[in-house]
Amino acid sequence: MGTAKHWLDEPRNVRLLRRLALAVLVLVLAAELAVQLKPHFAVEGLFGFHAWFGFFACIAMIGLAKGLALLLKRPDTYYGDGDD
């Protein structure tokens, strides 16, 4: 297996995959025009709610994590070997 090139190592295929992924994103958004959603709450009725809510929730969580890291991040040798 060692030196054989995997099809995922080919930049052309990776580009193709990336385009495919973007197309799927557009597709799941567009599908909302065809599928009647059943919102539990008013906010869920906004177009593409799950898409943009998920997207921004993730960005917010990464932001929160980076903020916490400023305070609590330490080198992974922090507790050393004789930590007890």
């Binding site: 898409a51 929160l64 007890d84």
Partner: protein, 561 residues
């Protein structure tokens, strides 16, 4: 009443002693057959108390069957089976027997009809799990197992105090739902929550589990937290505090996992995250929510074991566990990569996987109860699960950036155990009725509706987009993130050190300035604490009896005073 004579949990615990004596193929056969035998026994349990006897003034019910107990006992048997299968090549002779004791006592807890039996098996579980961790044999595992044991003994003592108080107050040992109207019941809750990995002491879990061997972590992930979930479903359904604790755990798990570099610690944080979903469901407390929590515990045990098996395979083949040292493994480990991805999709609740059919019931229960904030937070958290476990774990371990490592897939026993669990993940996703039929309450829920599938796909795929957009901010660094375990790993030892230095300084000062006083103090300390000192020598039984007599007399005087 005495139809059942063989306790499924005791079969595993007794079998563990047998396994410890065996070697070679016979050992492997027994390891795989024992959980199957236990599973068959679980399914022969009738509903209601199956075995009762009098102990002291109480009627104990060590075995009682009902759908909830059967559901958890079933998944524990399956976890023991898959874990034992995966660990067939484990060189440690202690780990698998310890894991069988651990699994058997977890089954003992879920079949228990009274609180005393719960307590006994609870403590046995702590011993089994500590041995699984300790058997890994590395110095780091030795230290981690001491910290793990310390915290679980603390939790056990709190639980013991709570159960004692509860039984003393009510005279009833039956394990029934509690209304949280006495201090004793709060103590029971606190003891159970410690095992569930709830704040403020969640840190024991990501501290301990990743230190176990490549197969040990698979066992550890299955039983302790899920037994706690079971006790909460049975004892505290609808306790509102669990909603808030659960939501804290959900986001704690995500944020810490996002910052983590150790692949198995990422998955450990994600256990806390997933148990948070279950706690939220238990706190909501409706039939739909409790069904959701129980179903999620079931599916979680399977996909988390699968994820930890894929991580364990990587560790077994490469000896590395840091994301920053891994990457590109899909080239040479196709089976491990595929199974890891199935586990990652399941934990993210992708349609056609097991997580999709279980987690949705918890969100649905929040929506049915008009808990808008809880519902929004659960949706955000579902996005976060995909972020930290669904993409981050497989991406950094199996794909980018190529580490140049080209290890082969692990041996057949490990590969087939993974394929077995991956098949269950997909099977339950395609055929959820198989799981729904086992749940404690009747299920009137259809996960595969067009709006639900579309909403979930939008949520997950755009979370994936967020991951790749933010990839520069998720660079892997050689760091850890401080947690509350800092208090007992750093703060207390540091304070003790300072205290010792202060005492030495005072002694030095006294010896220099007032030698007479220093010598006097030393002599006094020697008289009290020395070999023949009052606080160090052994006491004859007679003097102990005398002091007990004095105490009792004092009590009598106070009583009548």
């Amino acid at each position: 009443m005495t139809d059942i004579l063989i306790h499924p949990g005791l079969v595993l615990i007794g079998g563990a002693l047998l396994v410890a004596c065996l070697r070679g193929p016979a050992r492997g056969a027994v390891v795989v057959l024992l959980p199957l035998l236990a599973l068959a026994l679980v399914w022969q349990l009738p509903d209601g108390p199956a075995w009762q006897f009098r102990f002291l003034d109480y009627t104990l019910t060590p075995v009682a069957g009902d759908p909830l107990a059967r559901l958890f006992a079933t998944i524990f048997c399956l976890a023991a089976l898959a874990g034992g299968w995966f660990a067939l090549g484990q060189a440690s002779r202690l780990e698998v027997p310890a894991a069988l004791v651990y699994a058997g006592s977890a089954i003992g807890v879920v079949l228990a009809g009274d609180l005393l039996t719960v307590l006994v098996f609870w403590e046995l579980m702590a011993i089994g799990s500590t041995l699984v961790l300790w058997s890994s044999g590395t110095p780091a595992a030795g230290r981690a197992s001491r910290r793990y044991l310390m915290l679980h003994i603390l939790g056990g003592v709190v639980l013991f105090a709570g159960i004692t108080g509860h039984v003393a107050a009510t005279g009833d040992v039956t394990f029934a739902p509690m209304a949280l109207d006495s201090a004793a019941q709060w103590l029971i809750l606190a003891g159970v929550l410690l095992n569930a990995g709830a704040p403020p002491l969640s840190a024991w879990l990501p501290d301990a589990y990743p230190e176990a061997s490549w197969s040990g972590t698979v066992f550890l992930s299955a039983f302790t937290t899920k037994t706690a979930v079971y006790v909460l479903i049975r004892g505290f359904p609808g306790a509102e505090i669990l909603i808030y604790l659960g939501l804290c755990m959900v986001f704690y798990g995500i944020v810490y996992a996002l910052l983590e570099n150790d692949m198995r610690r990422i998955l450990a944080y994600s256990i806390v995250n997933q148990v948070g979903f279950m706690l939220t469901g238990i706190g909501i407390g409706t039939e739909m929510a409790l069904n959701g929590a129980a179903a999620h515990a079931f599916t979680h045990i399977i996909y988390k074991a699968l994820l930890l098996m894929s991580a364990g395979s990587v560790l077994y083949m490469t000896g590395r566990r840091k994301c920053s040292e891994l990457g590109g493994l899909f080239h040479s480990m196709p089976v491990t990569t595929a199974c890891g991805i199935v586990g990652a999709l399941s934990i993210s609740a992708f349609p056609l996987t097991s997580g999709f059919v279980s987690k949705a019931m918890i969100s649905q229960a929040a929506a049915d109860g008009h808990l808008q904030t809880v519902w929004l937070l659960l949706v955000a958290a579902s996005a976060g699960v995909f972020l930290h476990a669904g993409i981050k774990f497989p991406w950094f371990v199996f794909f980018q950036e190529d580490s140049g490592l080209r290890p082969a897939d692990p041996p057949a026993s490990m590969r087939w155990a993974m394929i077995f669990l991956a098949a269950i993940c997909i099977g339950l996703g395609i055929w959820p009725e198989a799981l729904y039929r086992l749940l404690p309450f009747g299920v009137a829920y259809e996960p595969y509706t067009a709006p639900h599938v579309l909403a979930q796909l939008q949520l997950l795929l755009f979370s994936g987009l967020a991951f790749f957009v933010m990839l520069p901010f998720l660079r892997r660094t050689l760091t850890i993130t401080l947690d509350t375990d800092w208090a007992y790993r750093q703060l207390v030892p540091r304070l003790a050190g300072q205290g010792q230095r202060a005492v030495l300084a005072v002694r030095g000062w006294l010896a220099g300035r007032r030698p007479g006083v220093a010598a006097g103090l030393r002599a006094l300390a020697y008289r009290v604490y020395g070999p023949d000192g009052g606080l160090a020598r052994t006491w004859p039984t007679g003097s102990m009896a005398l002091w007990v007599l004095v105490l009792l007399l004092g009590y009598l005087v106070l009583f009548y005073a």
